[in-house]
């Protein structure tokens, strides 16, 4: 099916895609302003920009998901109207969205055929898709169990399904919106191998990412967007991460974390033989033990889904477990009967959850309400036993927003109206300024632009330097390596080993993350 000649309609000399003068406003927000861009055939083209720069919007317009207010689209040199995704698909465009568009309780196969079925009955379509899927899987190393439910797949596999969906529809042009935000380094490498394969097949790829290293590694050309405007396109070979960062943010950015060696103090968190079984009866944590001391950052590396989330949930007080946890030498209740998120906070634990949109924030609440969220029992936020002191919370919020450079600094704006990076800053402001003994941080920079990453990393290190204990969970090896004072690697509910950042490298950690325990832990 791949060699089915679809090239006839295209002029090989013309750029694969050319956008001219695209503008798009969401109500009062001008997401794209008069954007023009052109992508050569068979190229991997990167797009970078801060959160909210309008990257996703631009690509969604190209994919027919949004309608542009103005502008023209040329595919293979021909002016093409893309009123809906159907038109984009038949123009040979496939897209892997930033937030996956999969039906969670459907199988892989069902998701792949959805919208591309062959006839009114499902069975033949599914059978055919199953065959093609095996071929595609072989051709591009895209292995997934066709009968698995999406909700049971890791994000990496879910992403493969998204790519398979596009290939199944004969996409010549593949758009990937922040594909590596949730992948492990190994998975990301795998993805890039696939992308190169696709490129060699003559396909055109547009890659949006916040990770400049990836841009440098795989793209041929790169475009920079800022505040809804296109700031120019350059050959990747002619630029550097520092240069790109500066073009994106409009100032110089420190790409390396600047930190002094840790001065660990007394032990703040001691975990012994922690076990968790989830509601479906699956054992998620198989007896893990570790400790974190004052003034140090313990980084927990691992592919997501290996128990890190459960660990954070137990420590945060909203998952039950067996075993022993001591905070500052005091045991804490793990049965959920006498403790919850509230009592954990009282014990000096602050928690930046992995999923800010589902856990850390209430998207419909205003910023000031989110600042009080979880700390609504704090006497400073309450006038008396009955009434909350909303004015005090708002005043506090204004201060926090200023110190954490949240933009726009408006306490009455709803959380959903902030960009991802700024949402994360609100959560951090709330948790870090509590001055906790122990800070739990999950995926602090997921989907966050480099300007904000720099700031967030500085805040975490600063807290450590005040002598606080920090437990950092991240799938981002680079982040783990540069922030942690010690690194523990989790696999399948167990800790595979502990390493010091100076004495290990990504390769060794990668092996541990895959469950291969080279040296004894």
């Amino acid at each position: 099916m791949q060699d089915a000649p679809q090239l006839g309609r295209q002029n090989t000399a013309a750029p694969a895609i050319e956008l001219r003068g695209i503008s798009k406003a969401f109500g009062p927000v001008q997401a794209n302003k008069d954007i023009s861009i052109s992508v050569e055939r068979g190229a991997i083209h990167g797009i970078v920009g801060e959160n909210g720069a309008g990257k996703s919007t631009l690509m969604s317009i190209l994919y027919g998901f949004y309608k542009a207010d103005a502008g023209e689209i040329f595919i293979g040199g021909e002016r093409t109207a893309i009123p809906d995704s159907q038109a984009a698909i038949s123009a040979g465009i496939g897209m892997v969205h930033q937030h996956f568009k999969l039906v969670e309780n459907f199988t892989v196969l069902e998701n792949v055929v959805l919208g591309a079925e062959d006839g009114a009955l499902l069975r033949p379509s599914l059978a055919k898709a199953r065959k093609l899927l095996t071929e595609l899987a072989k051709e591009y190393e895209l292995n997934v169990d066709p009968d698995a439910l999406i909700e049971n797949l890791s994000v990496g596999h879910q992403q493969r399904v998204e790519i398979l969906k596009a290939l199944y529809r004969h996409a010549d042009i593949l758009i990937l919106d922040e594909p590596t935000g949730v992948l492990t380094p190994a998975e990301a490498d795998h993805l890039f191998r696939i992308l190169r394969n696709l490129k060699n097949e003559g396909k055109t790829i547009i890659l949006i990412t916040h990770k400049l290293r990836e841009i440098m590694d795989v793209t041929d050309t790169v475009s920079v967007m800022r505040r809804g405007e296109m700031k120019g396109t350059i050959k990747t070979a002619d630029t550097s991460p520092e240069d790109l960062a500066e073009r994106m943010v409009g100032r110089k950015v420190l790409l390396q974390v600047d930190k002094t060696p840790a001065k660990p103090g007394k032990s703040v968190l001691e975990v012994k033989d922690l076990r968790v079984t989830d509601s479906k009866g699956v054992v998620r944590l198989k007896g893990i033990s570790f400790d974190v001391r004052a003034g140090e950052i313990l980084g927990i590396a691992g592919v997501s889904g290996n128990g890190q989330s459960e660990l954070l949930e137990v420590l945060g007080g909203f998952e039950t477990a067996t075993g022993d946890i001591h905070i500052n030498g005091h045991p804490i209740d793990l049965t959920g009967k006498f403790s919850d998120g509230q009592s954990r906070r009282a014990q000096g634990i602050a928690h930046v959850p992995e999923d800010r949109q589902r856990e850390g924030l209430i998207m419909d609440f205003m910023a000031w309400e989110n600042i009080a969220f979880g700390y609504h029992n704090d006497p400073a936020y309450n006038k008396n036993v009955l009434l909350m002191d909303n004015a005090a919370i708002r005043a506090d919020t204004e201060g926090k927003m200023e110190r954490f450079d949240v933009r726009p600094p408006n306490p009455r704006l709803q959380a959903k109206n902030f960009s991802g990076g700024n949402q994360q800053k609100i959560v951090l402001a709330r948790e870090i300024e509590r001055n906790p003994d122990l800070l739990l941080v999950g995926q602090p920079t997921r989907g966050v632009d480099i300007g904000a990453i720099e700031f967030i990393h500085q805040q975490i290190v600063a807290l450590r330097d005040q002598g606080k204990a920090i437990l950092l969970v991240s799938v981002e090896l680079e982040e783990i390596m540069s922030l942690s004072d010690r690194i523990a690697v989790m696999f399948d509910g167990q800790i595979m080993g502990e390493r010091l950042p100076g004495e290990t490298d990504e390769k060794e950690l990668g092996l541990l993350m895959a469950g291969m325990n080279g040296k004894a832990a």
Partner: protein
């Protein structure tokens, strides 16, 4: 950031919606061969034209405020309490038991006691659905629907067998003692020299309803419990992260919801009929759903929507009385009002928003 000014949002759009609903109602009236202008005049005069008219309008509005608030508070915790009908009926039982148990010397004593009785009984009727939702995940919509039917059976049994006054044809309790009589608007306003109709059923429970609106607002937007309820309503996962117990919120918000529905009985049972009769709720529990939805679960909105439905009920009665228009026409008008102000809101909102945006751009 805003697409249009707040006044347009809270006043202009509902006004256009209502206008559309009334125009369509007018067409229906025309279709059955009556004069819509006379009809609207009759309705307005009949519900606002005299103190007697006001007395009826506010009486119905009071009922709807209570049931509307009941549905609204459950909505804030993202629960759909269809059981207002049953909870209000059982609240009536509570009121009746309190009022009949003691020969009350004065309403100032009877009212607090009956209020507690109504609230406890109403809350008690919401208790089991709430518990089953919290503990067993049994869908609150089914259980509250079932509890409406069960309450009807229970009330039927009690009124026919246990509480009925012997020799009375009607399935109703005996009259409450005179000391349990609540001051009507006439009695309340007479000392201020205001002559309010003696015979209108509006009574002091209207003030109780206003108080509940205010307390509702304080609870939801000014207290920690309200904060927790809203948090849970917006996101259960986030609430768990924040240490807000789902069980606790479900139980508490449903109990408050049941209590508010039960309080309606102060108005219709204690204030109006002064005895407990069969089917005393008369669908106010269901109208409460519409009121809460139209009022966007905000007490001010609930108050205004309740007033609107009070107007429709009373105006509709007048329509029937003087114009011989079938009483079900009022239900049609209610339906159109709900449809246009609630469900078809965006039909009007989107174009108006675009107009404002255009206007703003031109100014800018």
């Amino acid at each position: 950031m805003d697409k249009m000014p707040k006044w347009a949002d809270v006043l202009l759009i509902p006004f256009i919606n209502l206008l559309l609903a009334f125009i369509l109602s007018g067409l229906v009236i025309l279709a059955i061969g009556k004069d819509p202008l006379v009809a609207i005049k009759t309705m307005v005069e009949g519900s606002f034209g005299s103190t007697n008219a006001w007395g009826y309008t506010l009486y119905y509005a009071t009922n709807y405020i209570f049931t509307g608030l009941a549905v609204a508070i459950a909505f804030h915790a993202r629960m759909f309490n269809i059981g207002g009908e049953g909870q209000a009926a059982i609240g009536g039982l509570g009121v009746a038991l309190v009022c009949l148990a003691v020969d009350w010397p004065h309403w100032t004593l009877a009212l607090p006691a009956a209020t507690i009785g109504a609230a406890i009984f109403g809350a008690g009727w919401a208790l089991i659905p709430a518990y089953l939702q919290a503990r067993r995940g049994s869908h609150i919509v089914i259980t509250t629907i079932m509890f409406n039917f069960i309450s009807a059976a229970l009330m039927g049994y009690l009124l026919v067998n246990a509480l009925k006054e012997p020799g009375n044809m009607a399935a109703e309790t005996r009259d409450f003692p005179a000391g349990a009589h609540l001051p009507s608007f006439h009695e309340m306003l007479a000392p201020f020299g205001i002559e309010f109709s003696k015979h209108a059923p509006a009574n002091i429970s209207f003030l109780l309803a206003l108080l509940c609106c205010f307390l509702f607002w304080v609870l939801i937007w000014r207290t920690r419990l309200g904060f927790a309820i809203r948090s849970f309503g917006h996101s259960e996962t986030a609430a768990r992260y924040a240490g807000i117990s789902p069980t606790k919120i479900i139980m508490i918000s449903m109990m408050i919801s049941g209590a508010l529905a039960g309080l309606m009985a102060i108005n219709n049972v204690m204030g109006e009929s002064e005895r407990l009769i069969l089917n005393s709720v008369e669908g106010a529990g269901f109208i409460g759903i519409a009121v809460a939805l139209m009022g966007r679960s905000h007490p001010v909105g609930v108050f205004l929507a309740a007033l609107l439905f009070g107007f429709l009920t009373q105006g509709g009665a007048e329509l029937q009385l003087w114009e011989n228009i079938p009483r079900e026409l009022v239900v049609v008008i209610q339906a159109l009002v709900i449809l246009f102000t609630g469900a078809l809101d965006n039909m009007v909102r989107a174009p108006v928003e675009r107009l404002f945006l255009k206007f703003k751009k031109r100014v800018a």
